[in-house]
Assembly symmetry: C2
Homo-oligomer: 351 residues x 2
């Protein structure tokens, strides 16, 4: 296995469609700019979909799940068994992302990329386990090269499946106890920041828990410090299977021209890594929400991204992205269905 596909260029945005959409917004019966971000969304989607009247009927959500060796350092408020238990909850339709996918009429795929205990086969869960969780990156790389490539490739295949099924928008979600520790370490390494600048409570650590998590991350950063300028190597050393899966899916989406709606802290970190591995990915990312995890703001800042929503969410699973989908759909509906000044015989702004 290799990762040569990572270098394939991203699809170019359609600048004609963007321009047409921009001009169309200007003649709709409203003061220019009065729909704010909804106008920008419709125009961006027009450029991505190469369609001056963009549509978002078919939404695909893939949740990537995996365990993390770093949890043995006591960095999470929840026990590691929750990763598998939540995979079972996804299979049974009881998790937040199940409810959201059902409400949105979105396709939902769950991929088990490697958990400490191997669960029974479950309807709706694809078992693509790479290993029984990653290694503890405090003392060694989290993955081998082969494992990293495998994880990136799983993400690519998830994106390709969505594309084959006519998806018009791709959402990646995450599940993995300990994964805010991995994501924080990745972001610190790439942004050259100490752990104090980015570490947060994750699923709910108290202040002494955060202090301990910060110390573990700083020690890990010190161990891997010679590789901070190599995003692929950093992904291998500090990443998780599910985070690498998301990175791979984002790069593949950009290459195929499938718009991505980015969820919160884990997905945002994957987006940061993906854009450092492949600058062309940035054009294909729409940022759904500002996570309550405190480091998220800095990660968004590093990508000059301004998320659409700020609802204090910090759940993962793709839930924050799913919640933003209706706004994207309304943006398209307004763009496509409002009357123009001429059609409605409404007077325009005074000269």
């Amino acid at each position: 296995m290799n990762c040569d596909w990572l270098k394939t260029p991203a699809k170019a945005l359609d600048e004609n469609c963007r321009e047409q959409a921009l001009q169309h917004q200007a003649i709709l019966t409203k003061p220019p700019g009065a729909l704010g971000v909804l106008e920008e969304i419709a125009i961006s989607l027009a450029a991505m979909q190469a369609n001056s009247k963009p549509e978002l009927e078919h939404i695909h959500i893939t949740v990537f799940a995996a365990d993390h060796g770093i949890t043995s350092e006591g960095v999470s408020a929840f026990p590691q068994s929750v990763t598998v238990e939540m995979i079972r909850n996804f299979a049974n339709g009881g998790a937040a992302i199940n409810v959201l996918a059902q409400q949105l009429g979105a396709k939902l795929n769950i991929i088990n990329m490697g958990t400490v205990t191997q669960p029974e086969p479950m309807q709706g869960v694809t078992d693509l386990s790479i290993d029984r969780g990653t290694a503890n990156f405090l003392h060694q790389p989290a993955m081998s090269n082969e494992q990293l490539f495998d994880a990136l490739n799983t993400g690519r295949q998830a994106a390709e499946r969505a594309q084959l099924q006519q998806a018009q928008l791709f959402i990646a979600g995450d599940m993995g106890i300990g994964n805010t520790t991995s994501a924080t370490a990745l972001a610190c390494a790439i942004l050259g920041l100490p752990a104090t600048k980015l570490t947060g409570p994750g699923t709910g650590l108290d202040s002494s828990g955060i202090e301990h998590k910060t110390e573990i991350i700083d020690r890990a950063l010190n161990f891997h410090r010679n590789y901070f300028d190599q995003p692929l190597e950093i992904s291998r050393r500090l990443g998780g299977f599910e985070i690498a899966g998301i990175i791979g899916s984002y790069i593949a989406c950009a290459q195929m021209g499938l718009p991505v709606l980015v969820d919160g802290f884990i997905a945002g970190t994957a987006a940061l890594m993906a854009t450092r591995l492949h600058a062309g990915v940035a054009d294909w990312l729409i940022f759904a929400h500002a996570s309550a995890e405190p480091g998220h703001a800095r990660i968004m800042q590093a990508m000059q991204a301004k998320p659409i929503l700020d609802l204090g969410m910090r759940l993962g699973e793709g839930s924050g992205a799913a919640v933003a989908v209706p706004l994207l759909r309304l943006a398209c509906a307004l763009h496509n269905n409002m009357a123009t000044f001429e059609q409605a015989s409404v007077s325009e702004k005074n000269a």
Copy 2:
């Protein structure tokens, strides 16, 4: 006609249902608080609907439209004829609020409360004209007492109609060229602020236009300065028919126990006036979005309100509230349909 009904107490929130909803949120399969504002919305709606599993299937939107005498001072970027032209656009289904109502499956009512030219009868538009627009409040009160009471009562009747039709949420929208000038004057009077603190571009004034609008508002405030401690009198002197209609609708909703989703600058000012006329109204208001009109933030602050969305919208018509409806619905769906830790056999947080 009188306005004694304004004094009827607001319905009490159901604190048992709030408590049940709060406890239910704590046992759903997610870290406590991880759904952020969506949890708060579900809990608030439970208390308002007296239902620990709140629902938002039936949404009613009423757009109140009227003209403003103050437009003769040149305070708007659009000509006054646009009010009637937009009423026609509403009737023909071409405006933003039509598209949104259709997407949401919401009932949409349009009420003409008085425009300078009387339009032809239109399907879907209820003509309850009070006069050919308000008087120019630069030199006289905008309305007579009778007209104010009439307008408040029209709002009450709109809310009652929604309630009769089993609405679970009420949205008021506005249309009226010049109405940011009226709303700004109302808010300045009630908050004791000079016009410079609140005046903005409305539908799109340039900086010299804003300067002129500010000066007009300050002169009007000076003319009416002896009544700032009387919210009903201020509503009569500086208000608009549609703004008074919205005020009346909000008060009636609170009295009947129908939750209100408040739109942007005009609706937010009406909410401020309503809470000053009747403190009990505040319990029944959910604030949908932060308007791009600069004075809106101060109006929200005065009510200690934190709007759900911040999308840079400034259209009116109830559009910003309509855009927030899917988030409220998803909040309810998550609250009602997610599995509990026990149901899903998911381990809870470490002690």
